[in-house]
């Protein structure tokens, strides 16, 4: 009986690891193109270009950010130990992230409210900078989680700010920027038409090349410097499916773009993000915050809530997630098609 209990407990913990991972993946997919559009915003030549680009995310960017709140909430709900150590450990970077997100929101709201060139330029810069900064910090955080941090016996972070800006973490940060640039440029092609669309199309290819270079560098650096990440892949070679599927998805993007199937290209990009998150999760599991020394690490099993709390939340999730998924899909369906400006636009 105790063995069965323990097995049920660890199953619940793994389920919640996957659910929290799904929420962060959802956030990466949705706010990923938002942030990408923000970073590309300054490439729009005329004011009309920029307004069309901004309004391509107009009705949805706010909702996409809610995914970050929910993913953070779910992390708190299921793994409070990880939530506490991660958020207090990444104190200043997270405060910077908040600054960038608020700056971005303010810029979106302000930008089109006054006609002066300088006014619009200032908020355009705010929008781009906020988007770039947010993407970079999110990536740096992922890099640090992969690489490991100094935690003490109470799992509190003992390093400083400069430790978080390790070259490997910066590399993952830049890779994330590249990923969102690619994702956002494809989204823009999907949402624009005519002249603007033709000017955006070459950005996609450049972004893909940039992204592939970053992924190659990150992969090599990971295998060289952080060998523990590869151990599950060596033990279970089937897990290379994720890497293979990721490559195929990325390779499909230029093909689909060439065939003018931009929706397929966008789906490939989404799929690529899912595969990258699977690679990340497969690499670090069961660690959620790996520590130096290793014994102080937070894992899926030592940082999770009790099985009772997890099972109650699982019931809530089983009711809630299909509801959220269905109406999110319905809303995107209602707002499908090309972006046009009207009286309600930014």
């Amino acid at each position: 009986m105790p063995v069965r209990r323990a097995r049920e407990a660890s199953l619940l913990q793994v389920i919640w690891f996957i659910l929290v991972g799904m929420l962060f993946t959802g956030y990466a997919i949705l706010d990923g193109f938002d942030l990408g559009v923000g970073m590309l915003h300054m490439l729009g030549k005329t004011d009309l270009d920029r307004r069309l680009m901004l309004n391509s995310i107009g009705p949805i960017w706010d909702g996409n950010e809610v995914w970050l709140v929910t993913a953070g909430g779910a992390l708190f709900a299921a793994f409070p130990g990880v939530y506490a150590s991660m958020f207090s450990g990444f104190y200043l970077p997270l405060m910077m992230l908040l600054t960038f997100l608020i700056l971005r929101a303010v810029s979106i709201e302000f930008r089109s409210k006054q006609p002066q060139k300088a006014w619009r330029l200032a908020w355009d810069i705010g929008f781009s900078l906020g988007s770039l900064g947010a993407a970079l910090i999110l990536g740096i955080a992922v890099g640090n989680l992969t690489m490991g941090l100094h935690l003490n016996a109470r799992h509190d972070y003992t390093g400083g700010l400069l430790d978080l800006l390790h070259p490997y973490a910066l590399l993952v940060g830049i890779t994330t920027v590249a990923l969102f640039l690619m994702h956002g440029s494809i989204y823009l092609v999907m949402k624009t038409e005519g002249d603007l669309r033709q000017r955006i199309e070459p950005w996609v290819n450049r972004a893909i090349i940039f992204f592939i270079m970053c992924v190659a560098a990150t992969t090599m650096a990971t295998l060289l410097y952080i060998p523990y990440v590869g151990r599950h892949f060596r033990a279970h070679p089937w897990m290379f499916v994720f890497a293979l599927a990721n490559m195929l998805a990325i390779a499909n993007i230029p093909r689909a773009m060439h065939l003018k199937k931009e929706f397929q290209a966008f789906m490939s990009s989404c799929f690529s993000i899912v595969m990258l998150m699977c690679l990340l999760a497969g690499g670090i599991f069961p660690y959620m915050m790996i520590s130096r020394p290793r014994v102080n690490s937070l894992t899926v099993f030592n940082a999770a809530n009790t099985p009772h709390a997890l099972s109650i939340m699982l019931i809530l999730a089983i009711i809630g997630i299909p509801l959220v998924a269905s109406y999110t899909f319905a809303i995107y369906w209602i707002f499908r098609g090309k972006t046009r400006l009207d009286i309600t636009s930014y």
Binding site: T70, F76, P115, A309, M313
Partner: protein, 464 residues
């Protein structure tokens, strides 16, 4: 200053700023539902026009609410890491429920409410409005449940059990989810918070409508909005008397130190009066300049003016909340509640007499009236949260023990400065945009029907 003090300042500041916005959206949600239901029922385009206008205001307030809400959730982890570890097993499920059942509902359907008039049918649109209003209320439900657990965790074995007591790893685990949801104070406090939110939304509408009436602009729209909001304001003010009484009884029963601080009642075991105003003198443990009805609190709670009420002296010095702050914020809140009741009654009375629309002096008061419920909401939360001190989870974890040990005071000073700067910017943004929308007024339905979806290009000098 210590990390704990700085973290409290930061949390207090960011929460106060955040809490200016959600009550307005909760109240506006109800009013939009009523207006759009009237549109469906009567087909009168004026109701649709009113719904559209308030939806725009709602969206602005909601956007600032989201932007200021993310720091709230982050701070549990960044500044209150030990608190998060201590309470995570119990607290987590309420936050997860808020995310799953409230946030997505509100933010997702808001897109349809705002941008979907031409894309979905009338009834679907109404359902979207209903979803947005429900989402904002669901959010209040779960967050008040979580906060109420911090106020009244109940007995061990109900909602929680304490494990590893006495060690640094001491933490709570969830026992009965139902006891968390229906804890000793959650339903009383929820009803009180919702009524206050309905008042905030209603008085926002009243203020703007009164402004238009004085200026003789958008008269039809202003009258429709004013009537709807006055009814909501009157019902909520009446409800507030009941929920306020329920809340006070709950506080008396489960948080006697807070109740004693509300009234500046020091004597450990004596009948207590009810002050109208006064100035607490903690050194001499009394209230100066006290204007009080003797025995009133005893009578309200126990139906007997001589019934003893537990006073602050019954608690060790280190377990007492700061009485002055709690006393003043509580009494200011109650006073505001009375004024709001009076304003709503006068408004309905003048409306019934038919003189409201031209009674300029009264309309002028109404223009600024939205400040009152906003202040009342802030003061009420101050008295509730400061009254819980020195505990972060009442009787179980002290506030100073909840703070993160990985964060240095200097880092908090940096983030405080950052929040201050960003919130000044947000305040400016909010008033700028609100003013912009109020100056523009509701869109004229006739003009809009003639020119659907005109690209808004007249500002685009760079485009030509």
């Amino acid at each position: 200053m210590t990390s704990a003090t700085l973290s409290r300042i930061q949390f207090g500041m960011t929460l106060s700023f955040h809490y200016l916005f959600p009550p307005l959206t909760i109240g506006l949600g109800v009013i939009m539902v009523i207006l759009e239901a009237m549109y469906l029922k009567t087909g009168d385009e004026a109701y649709q026009q009113a719904t559209k206008f308030w939806a725009k205001i709602f969206a602005l307030i909601f956007a600032i609410g989201v932007a200021t809400g993310i720091p709230m959730e982050f701070q549990f982890g960044t500044n209150w890491a030990h608190y998060s570890r201590f309470v995570g097993d119990v607290f987590g499920s309420a936050l997860a429920a808020e995310g799953l059942f409230a946030f997505f509902l509100e933010s997702g359907f808001l897109a349809i409410l705002l941008f979907g008039w031409e894309r979905v049918g009338k009834k679907t649109h109404f359902m979207a409005t209903l979803a947005v209003a429900s989402g904002s209320i669901f959010s209040a439900i779960w967050i008040v449940i979580a906060n109420s657990f911090m106020q009244t965790p109940g007995k061990p074995g109900q909602a929680y059990r304490l494990v590893d007591a006495g060690t640094p790893q001491a933490h709570l685990v969830l026992v009965h989810f139902a006891d968390l949801v229906f804890n000793q104070s959650s339903m009383q406090r929820l009803s009180h918070v919702l009524m206050a939110a309905f008042q905030a939304g209603a008085f926002l509408v009243i203020s703007v409508a009164a402004y238009y009436l004085i200026k003789n602009r958008h008269e039809r729209f202003a009258r429709i909005s004013m009537k709807t909001a006055l009814i909501v304001a009157l019902l909520a003010a009446a409800g507030q008397i009941i929920t306020g009484d329920l809340s006070a009884r709950e506080v008396a029963k489960y948080q006697p130190a807070k109740l004693a601080a509300f009234e500046g009642h020091y004597a450990a075991h004596a009948p207590a009066g009810m002050s109208i105003m006064g100035w607490v003198d903690p050194a001499h443990r009394r209230v100066d300049y006290d204007l009080a009805i003797p025995g009133m609190l005893s009578w309200m709670l126990y139906g007997n003016t001589h019934a003893p009420v537990t006073g602050l002296d019954a608690f060790k010095k280190r377990d007492q909340p700061p009485a002055q702050v709690v006393f003043q914020t509580y009494h200011a809140m109650v006073a505001i509640g009375m004024v709001l009741m009076l304003l709503a009654m006068l408004g309905v009375f003048f409306w019934w007499r038919g003189t409201l629309w031209t009674k300029t002096w009264f309309l002028r008061i109404l223009v600024v009236s939205v400040i009152l419920p906003e202040a009342g909401n802030q003061l009420g939360w101050f008295s509730a949260e400061v009254g819980r001190q020195p505990w972060i989870v009442y009787g179980l974890l002290r506030t100073v023990h909840g703070v993160s040990s990985a964060v240095a005071p200097g880092e908090i000073v940096a983030s405080l400065g950052m929040f201050f700067f960003m919130y000044v910017l947000l305040t400016f943004l909010f008033f700028y945009l609100l003013n912009h929308k109020i100056a523009a007024g509701p869109a004229d339905p006739v003009a809009q029907a003639q020119q659907p979806n005109v690209p808004l290009l007249y500002h685009d000098r760079a485009a030509t």
